[in-house]
């Protein structure tokens, strides 16, 4: 067993681009689900919109990178509005079904052969991240703490931008949730009729939460696309959304640090177990499974973890059990 490799991979995943992507996706869900009680099951769609906005703007149309960023943020807001208008007045599970359907629509559109000239079909798009990496201030080389942590200069640039985005999003959320605005959201999560009877436009607040969460989700999409220098439609399936929920619930919903710590821990554990098992299989320590089955085991553990968390510790690591909305209806 190569413990250095295993721990190194796990730690790198815990602070790497996956952790950033899922932290941002979960921060978005935290606004919607954690604080407001809205079930957005289509966060993957918002990530896809962010990722493809950059990719299509730059790779397909040859327009500037920052225009792509702007389009991504705008489209995410538009999608949230489109989804919210019909469903926010209805029961919670309608929003869940509509958002999950919308995310699938986004994925099916970008992977379609008919539109492959624009979106690249199932292969997706590449060659759009040049101007992003041109801004990279890190000179080539290895950075980190050998032998555990080591990133090349491109990764360092992605990580810097990504964690700064996480920090900004969390700070804004922190300020917003301390304000009377945040108070209205938390009240809506608990009983929207009571809030309505006090003269607050509940629909508008829910919409704001949906838009803000979706826009933060699109930022996760930016990092997803840039860190891989590629977009591929099937990476934005509903499983992504559910992993983000796992991350959020693991860290603790309705807590500012919940999504961040949840995401770091999620990836640390997932890679630790995955790499550990792979290593054990390769070195012959474990003989009854194959390397490819390790992936399935990882998936099973995510599902199992989500179930056990909700049953035994729905407040996650940081949450306050008195404050979570899971039992609300």
């Amino acid at each position: 067993m190569d413990w250095t490799l295993i721990i190194s991979r796990a730690v790198e995943a815990g602070i790497g681009s996956e952790a950033i992507i899922y932290a941002l996706a979960a921060i978005g869900l935290n606004v919607q689900f954690g604080y407001t009680g809205l079930l957005n099951f289509g966060q993957a769609g918002f990530l896809a919109i962010g990722a493809y906005s950059i990719a299509v703007t730059v790779a397909t149309f040859g327009l500037p990178f920052f225009l792509g960023v702007g389009i991504g943020l705008l489209l995410a807001a538009v999608l949230a509005l489109l989804l919210g208008i019909p469903t926010l007045r209805l029961r919670a599970d309608y929003l869940a079904i509509v958002t999950i359907a919308a995310a699938e629509i986004v994925r099916l559109v970008v992977r379609s052969v008919a539109l492959s000239d624009t979106f690249g079909g199932t292969d997706g798009l590449q060659a759009f991240s040049g101007s992003f990496y041109d801004m990279n201030p890190y000179p080539p080389g290895e950075y980190g703490i050998p032998p555990i942590i080591g990133f090349d200069n491109r990764s360092m640039w992605v990580l810097t931008v990504g964690w700064v985005l996480v920090a900004i999003a969390s700070f804004i959320l922190f300020m917003a949730m301390k304000s009377p605005w945040g108070r209205v959201l938390k009240a809506i999560r608990e009983d929207e009729d009571a809030v309505r009877s006090l003269g607050k436009n509940v629909f508008s607040y829910k919409m704001q939460a949906l838009v803000i969460g979706g826009v933060i989700g699109s930022m996760a999409g930016f990092i997803f696309a840039l860190s891989r220098s590629a977009v591929q439609p099937d990476l934005y399936s509903t499983d992504l959304t559910f992993y983000a929920y796992t991350v959020l619930i693991l860290g603790g919903a309705a807590r500012i640090l919940g999504p961040i710590v949840g995401s770091m821990l999620f990836w640390l554990l997932l890679i630790l177990i995955g790499t550990g098992l792979e290593n054990a299989v390769n070195t012959g320590t474990i003989t009854f499974i194959t390397v490819n089955q390790v992936g399935a085991i990882r998936l099973m553990l995510v599902g199992l973890g989500l179930i056990l968390l909700l049953i035994y510790r729905p407040q996650g690591i940081f949450g306050d059990k008195r404050e979570i909305s899971l039992d609300a209806r």
Partner: protein, 430 residues
């Protein structure tokens, strides 16, 4: 916390047992490009496929086997060119787009990348591709699509009835319902292919086990959660966790490739008027219709069916009028799972079995249930048929790959215009 640890340990113990049981299933290892060459569901054998690196350095080649599969192992992630040698295609078969004989694909780390080559029957005239060049052929196509839509709609309906009844009686929006179809299909596969029983024997055994699984699921899992007063949203997310778990378990046990039953794989089509169909699909539809009618009759006329509707209407009232609500719910779970498993098996006779097959039609089931009005079994039935029909018939106007999009868009529009569904009552949405 201690209980959580104990439960987790127990579950892990169970997992290890499962691992041992599943250890025999072999998997391809490492990065590779692979695929299965098929035409109209039939494998195409003996076709040579070459893989080169981006810089045209040869990497390897393969020839499709009797089951149409091929794979070329590669050393590292990267961009590769995959070329199908069109000269080796059997007579009468051709690439759908002769210009796409070479495809460039990205292979990611640890990823087995599937590459698809679309084939057509070179002898058959392209069907309806000329945009309805004659009135009769257009209507033939409509008839064929309506038939296929009915076929799909019936499968969706089988799944949706259970989904809707479970929602009605427990309030749970079960995101793991798609996996119940998959489990049914793979149970039958296990008895059929692994143990060698004829599918007609394997399927009933699978259905019994599925019913027991459904019963047990409520007895030992959902029922316990209800007793703990777990919230509905909580349960919904738990069902997502369960779906992820079950799907991964099937992936673990049966691998990620497509499988098929030993019987009823290839059947010659027969022509009935304008419709061409395989006998197996006609029989499958017959079974589906019979089951759905039986469910409908049972709900309307039997004591249990009436009790089920009473519970769906108002559990507290049903309970106070002497109905054993828990028992009804358990039977609903058993029956719902059994019917879903049947849908999975029947789906498995017409397409490949894979661990995602149920998940792939889950959204269509939701569409059917929502369209018909959440929680009403009859509504789910009608809604599903409409969805199935719509998905297939819409391919008259939109590319087939986009047909699901159409159904999902309609789902969203229906929620906008008539959130109570086609048959639901307005008061229900409260």
């Amino acid at each position: 916390m201690r209980r959580a640890v104990i439960a987790f340990t127990a579950f892990m113990g169970g997992l290890i047992l499962v691992f041992l049981a599943g250890a025999s299933t072999a998997w391809a290892e490492g990065e590779e490009v692979r695929g299965t060459l098929r035409l109209q569901g039939q494998p195409v054998q003996g076709v040579k496929i070459t893989v080169t690196s981006d810089a045209d350095a040869p990497v390897g080649d393969a020839t499709t086997g009797a089951d149409g599969t091929w794979s070329v192992p590669i050393e590292k992630a990267g961009s590769y060119k995959v070329t199908l040698d069109q000269a080796t295609l059997p007579a009468g078969k051709a690439l759908r787009d002769p210009n796409r004989g070479t495809l460039t694909v990205q292979v990611f780390e640890g990823n087995a990348r599937n590459v698809l080559f679309g084939l057509v029957d070179a002898n058959a005239p392209p069907k309806g591709q000329d945009g309805g060049g004659g009135g009769s052929s257009y209507w033939d196509r409509v008839a064929q699509l309506v038939f296929e839509g009915l076929n799909l709609g019936l499968i969706i309906a089988l799944g949706a009835v259970g989904l809707s009844l479970i929602f009605g009686t427990t309030g749970l929006t079960n995101f793991a319902h798609g996996e119940l179809l998959t489990i049914g299909a793979f149970l039958a596969f296990f008895f059929n292919t692994v143990l060698g029983l004829h599918l007609l024997v394997a399927a009933p055994i699978a259905l019994v086990i599925a019913a027991a699984f459904g019963w047990g699921q409520d007895r030992f899992f959902w029922g316990q959660l209800r007793r703990r007063k777990t919230g509905l949203i909580s349960m919904m997310i738990i069902s997502i966790g369960l779906a992820l778990f079950l799907r991964a378990l099937l992936l673990f046990l049966f691998g990620g490739g497509g499988e098929s039953y030993d019987q009823y794989v290839a059947q010659a089509g027969i022509q009935i008027g304008p419709i061409s169909a395989t006998p197996k699909s006609l029989i499958a539809m017959g079974i589906e219709i019979a089951v759905l009618i039986a469910v409908g009759l049972a709900l309307t006329y039997t004591r249990l069916g009436k009790a089920t509707r009473a519970v769906a209407d108002n559990p507290a009232l049903a309970s106070s009028s002497g109905i054993n609500v828990d028992r009804v719910i358990r039977i609903v779970w058993a029956a719902g799972t059994c019917i879903a498993a049947l849908a999975g098996i029947l789906l498995g006779t017409t397409q490949n079995l894979n661990f995602q097959m149920g998940q792939q039609i889950l959204l269509l089931m939701f569409a059917g249930v929502t369209l018909g009005g959440l929680g009403t079994a009859y509504g789910a039935l009608v809604g599903s048929l409409v969805v199935g029909m719509f998905v297939q018939v819409s391919t008259l106007w939109i590319p087939p790959e986009m047909k699901t999009i159409g159904a999902l868009v309609v789902l969203i529009i229906v929620l906008m215009v008539r959130p109570q569904g086609i048959l639901g009552r307005r008061e229900r949405i409260g």
